[in-house]
């Protein structure tokens, strides 16, 4: 059992996402610690890629902020190395960055370095199961998990193949489309979870969860965990641009122009708690319904 499976062992897991380096490295490290304090069971750290084709506007903007702040894979790993949090860390990025890293051809150097800095696994949204062989191998070599995404449209053989290859947990995409906070939780979630019930790997549901109430619903529909990205990134974005709204009109770069990072961190921690509590409440209900 990896540290990721373990994170799902004591009840529903809360899995927050933030892009590292958004809006600047120092602040984002503070935010990650806030999420950790707020009850994160696993933290997904985005390593920004210039063409984030699977992301909605919110995370896309986070990626742009981080990149224009100078984030690179090397800086990402260096920063993670210094990071001292309880929750296990997952790196979420795109395959080209994984593939290009280091001098050797293929994903091995990237995984090696990730392992070195204490990363436990990867989510690579543009890497389909069919092309994942080399990365899977490297992960196995260094004892890391490779988490795959299952969409509402994934059925039959494809589903089998993915479920065979995923480890740590499976990322259950709650709806079609891209990442982004929504007001409602899709009906598709229940159906997706039903389809997955015969595999006993943890099922973490993401895409569109933004409140404790939604977290509760998703977990009571059978999820083992909730993944929350855009709702948290929104807080970072608002904090980063708060200064510029009354200020010069330029988009804020770093916290000089925004709310103090400590204030933003508090907001993140508050929402994290709400989400975690929602998830736990959902589990209680799911438990009671089952009995």
């Amino acid at each position: 059992m990896s540290r990721l499976d373990e994170a799902f062992a004591d009840g529903p897991a809360f899995v927050p996402y933030l892009a590292l380096g958004d809006p600047d490295l120092e602040s984002s490290l503070e935010y990650i610690r806030a999420l950790d304090r707020g009850g994160a069971d696993v933290i997904e750290l985005g390593l920004p890629f210039s063409e984030p084709i699977a992301e909605g506007p919110t995370i896309q903007s986070a990626v742009v902020r981080s990149l224009s702040g100078g984030m690179t894979p090397t800086k990402f790993f260096d920063a993670v190395e210094t990071l001292d949090v309880d929750a296990p860390l997952v790196c979420m990025t795109y395959y080209n960055l994984v593939y290009q890293f280091g001098d050797e051809e293929g994903p091995r150097p990237f995984v090696e370095r990730a392992a070195e800095v204490g990363i436990e696994g990867f989510v690579v949204p543009d890497l389909p199961a069919e092309e994942a062989g080399p990365l899977r191998e490297a992960c196995d070599e260094f004892g890391l998990d490779l988490i795959f995404i299952v969409a509402p449209t994934t059925r039959g053989e494809r589903l089998e193949r993915i479920m065979e290859r995923t480890s740590g947990y499976v990322y259950v995409q709650a709806r079609l489309g891209v990442t982004g906070a929504r007001a409602d939780v899709s009906d598709q979630t229940g159906a997706s979870l039903d389809r997955l019930s015969r595999w006993d790997i943890p099922k973490a549901v993401g895409f569109g969860i933004s409140s404790g109430e939604q977290a509760r619903e998703v977990v009571s529909a059978g999820a083992d965990g909730i993944i929350v990205g855009s709702a948290l990134v929104d807080i970072v974005a608002e904090g980063a641009s708060a200064g510029s709204q009354t200020g010069s009109g330029d988009v804020a770069e770093g916290h000089e122009n925004g709310d103090p990072p400590a204030v933003v961190a508090d907001r993140l921690e508050t929402l994290a708690r709400e989400l975690k509590e929602g998830a736990v409440a959902g589990a209680t209900r799911a438990q009671s319904e089952r009995t």
């Binding site: 210039s50 992301e55 903007s61 990149l67 795109y94 395959y95 593939y99 891209v178």
Partner: protein
């Protein structure tokens, strides 16, 4: 039409979010049935519409004065005469028609300079399909006439404001739309790029160019040409012009890339002042496929640059990358200045105002050795230059273009 392996050597593949996988599998299946096996007479209808709506066959024209200049028979494959003014319609019409056969209800597409967008909007209007085009805000401002043409054809044009607001961002945004609406929507990609089956399918739709050119050459000149030259952005006119000659070893194939203002990549700023991904790029994954691309050491895609917006793309079709590695296709480059000269040369000597993309192919004849061209060369005139008049006035004024006409009629610019 031929069967479709999903890879070209190591290139190609399907590097897309899982949500899209069922859609591209469905597409792959539809491609196989309708396009390869002509189910329900798809290919017949496609050919007929290409003829009646598109204006095919396009001529293969001997360029008398260029032939004299280069001491070789120069034959122009006139895709500029296709409806819409570029080869783009071959693909757009094929894909929109396929979407119709698949029972899709809606078309989305990305566009950079607007050529693929206008071709798609035309095809969608023609086939009565609702259509939305994603286009970077910056491109919208640079290419108003094309935006207007799309709107006239009844398409929505959705401005994309993320990033630099150009083609790369528009592609990403269209993929996002598709990921959300995949059950009812078909994404008409504009070149031989993207995940399988797009590179194969787009090449098949475009291969009518070389199919005709091969037959026309044989009828008009006899035998096979010694070389074929086409510009390469994503590479769709390129693969279209090469496809039917690939197995003819005696025919040399030259892909002319945009050399921009200089070759190389500025790692510091993440900018390549060119779009020469075949000539200078490295292997990587972009927009769903493994291919050659312009990237920095970390794998971040850099900004490409070219005076011709249709060539201004950091990637290139995976099949073309493969053919280059195999030595079957020779990549060459032409810089901005030389492209402008080529533009003016064709305009003045043949009475054909080419697209700036095409001007690269024409300009390369100037650099080619007699051995490279051989006794006869087919040049793909991928499009006409009406869309580029404004840029050419500007760019010609900004540089010393030795063969440019005196522009004194235009006291105050183009309007």
């Amino acid at each position: 039409m031929s069967d479709a392996p999903s890879k070209f050597g190591e290139y190609g593949g399907q590097y897309v979010p899982e949500a899209l996988m069922p859609a591209i599998e469905e597409l792959d299946d539809a491609y196989q049935r309708y396009v390869v096996e002509n189910e329900d007479g798809f290919v017949d209808e496609f050919r007929e519409r290409l003829r009646d709506f598109g204006g095919r066959p396009t001529p293969l024209q001997r360029a008398d004065r260029l032939s004299e200049r280069y001491g070789t028979d120069v034959l122009l494959k006139r895709e500029d005469l296709l409806h819409g003014g570029a080869h783009k319609l071959n693909n757009a019409l094929g894909q929109v028609l396929l979407a119709k056969y698949m029972g899709k209800e809606r078309i989305v597409a990305e566009t950079g300079a607007g050529q693929h967008g206008t071709a798609t909007a035309m095809a969608a209007a023609h086939l009565d399909m609702p259509c939305e085009i994603y286009m970077g805000e910056r491109d919208i401002n640079r290419q108003r006439p094309n935006v207007f043409r799309m709107r006239l054809n009844g398409a929505e044009v959705n401005p994309v404001s993320t990033g630099r607001g150009t083609l790369k961002e528009a592609i990403s945004e269209t993929m996002r739309d598709w990921a959300t609406t995949v059950e009812t929507t078909h994404y008409v990609i504009g070149s031989v790029v993207g995940p399988h089956p797009f590179p194969t399918m787009v090449r098949e739709f475009q291969s009518v160019i070389s199919e005709e050119a091969r037959r026309q050459f044989d009828e008009q000149v006899g035998g096979l040409p010694d070389s074929v030259v086409a510009c390469a952005g994503g590479g769709s006119n390129t693969m279209g012009a090469f496809a039917e000659f690939v197995s003819d070893d005696s025919v040399d194939l030259y892909a002319v890339e945009a050399g921009g203002s200089s070759l190389g990549v500025d790692e510091e700023t993440g900018v390549a002042p060119n779009s020469a991904s075949l000539s200078t790029g490295t292997e990587g994954v972009l927009h769903g496929a493994r291919t050659k691309l312009l990237q920095d050491r970390d794998g971040q895609i850099v900004e490409s640059h070219s005076v011709s917006s249709g060539l201004d793309y950091a990637g290139v079709g995976p099949e073309l990358a493969y053919l280059v590695d195999e030595g079957r296709v020779t990549p060459v480059t032409v810089d901005d200045d030389a492209a402008l000269e080529g533009f003016h040369r064709l305009s003045q000597t043949e009475g054909i105002i080419p697209a700036l993309e095409t001007a690269h192919a024409v300009a390369w004849l100037e650099d080619a050795t007699p051995e490279q061209l051989g006794d006869s060369v087919v040049v793909c005139v991928s499009g006409r230059g009406d869309k580029d008049l404004e840029s050419v006035v500007e760019e010609t004024e900004n540089r010393e273009v030795p063969n440019a006409p005196d522009m004194d009629v235009f006291s105050g610019g183009m309007r």
